[in-house]
Symmetry: C2
Subunit: 249 residues, 2 copies
Amino acid sequence: MTQAPDSPRVRLYVKHPLGPGQPVVLAQDQAHYLFNVMRLGVGNNVALFNGTDGAWRAVVRDAGRRGGTLECRDQCAPQRDPPDLWLLFAPVKKARTDFIVEKATELGAARIIPVQTRFTSAERVRTDRLQAHAVEAAEQCGATFVPEVADLARLDRLLAGWDSGSNGARRILWADESPDAPGVAFSSLAPGPWAVLIGPEGGFAGAERAKLRALPFVTPLALGPRILRADTAAVAALTLWQAHLGDWA
Amino acid sequence: MTQAPDSPRVRLYVKHPLGPGQPVVLAQDQAHYLFNVMRLGVGNNVALFNGTDGAWRAVVRDAGRRGGTLECRDQCAPQRDPPDLWLLFAPVKKARTDFIVEKATELGAARIIPVQTRFTSAERVRTDRLQAHAVEAAEQCGATFVPEVADLARLDRLLAGWDSGSNGARRILWADESPDAPGVAFSSLAPGPWAVLIGPEGGFAGAERAKLRALPFVTPLALGPRILRADTAAVAALTLWQAHLGDWA
């Protein structure tokens, strides 16, 4: 919630290489944000990051109505990638879906995959809008990494191809809302690549539940005696994973 | 995210004793919710809870435009109080403050106290509106308990009278956003009454920080290498406490 004293107060994600003396040409929306919303002008500092090169202090060289140019000075933070943790979640109502993406970015998920389950109402999601939320959250939370938001995938197909696909040995921590879900002993879980799986507000269907229970790479996780909304469950499960297996330890 | 199969689909918090055969007269807003919004009618079931008597199945006896009467049948869930965990948080923007109250209720906080810190922008909070959010969250999450939302209190005064007040041996788990905050070994924390303390978006002032560090009943808690928003920090800290010292274990 605080910043280093001499770090620029505005952070901006750019799709651009960053390095000493590197000029960065701004798109119209970026210029609008910096010069109209944040009231920056020529000579002011901005922190830039692109997801791979850390954060760079840049100075405004040229500020126009429809564009502008920054010039990189020096790296003010090293690149810091999150642990290899994915979030698989069933999209819920718009505001809560946006919220899940924002929180997953803050909490350090490396990849966000909306999944369609039996009880998911969404037929499609606006991936570009969710990706923009992830960028904004990364700008806000001082991150140098932006998780990719993938297109909506069907959970059954994703699980069917899980082992043989590019997921390799990735395990799934499944937020299981059934009353008899076991508490999980995090100390018994192996480190390595993981994905947290959160269901929709209506929960998982019986067949999905049976499938998940039978899969050897899935570990159920109980999240207390009260029913959590999907967005709360996402934050809680990511928090527990980060605190025990991730970069909070 | 799921309900027991034969439990009523609508849950309603009432300030009314509950017991077998007990009639419950509805206020206008409750009648509107049940009969217009949820489209219930005479003979339909509702689950009622009042924060002390568990949840009761009740049947609609009389449904009018401006009121109505329910009759309690049998208890469908025992009273379940959360652990003795308070949330102290500095109010932030309206939507995020509402969100914090909703999430604290879901996660099982027993009391919610908005606190005014040096960098808190809010001079006052609408306690009644926040209390209504806590009620709604309890209705949604299947809880039988509603945390009390207290009036805004000055953090410095609260801390000054902490030991000698009604807090007794209550300890404070302080979400410390400074980069050198220590990770906390939850296994070393004593069970008993606790309060989680979350600062405002601007963080705590230096003097507040120094004060908190010096207090023997305060334990700092680091929440990872990224900067969390206040609402995220609240969910994360409550989750970790519940998983280790609360009723999730």
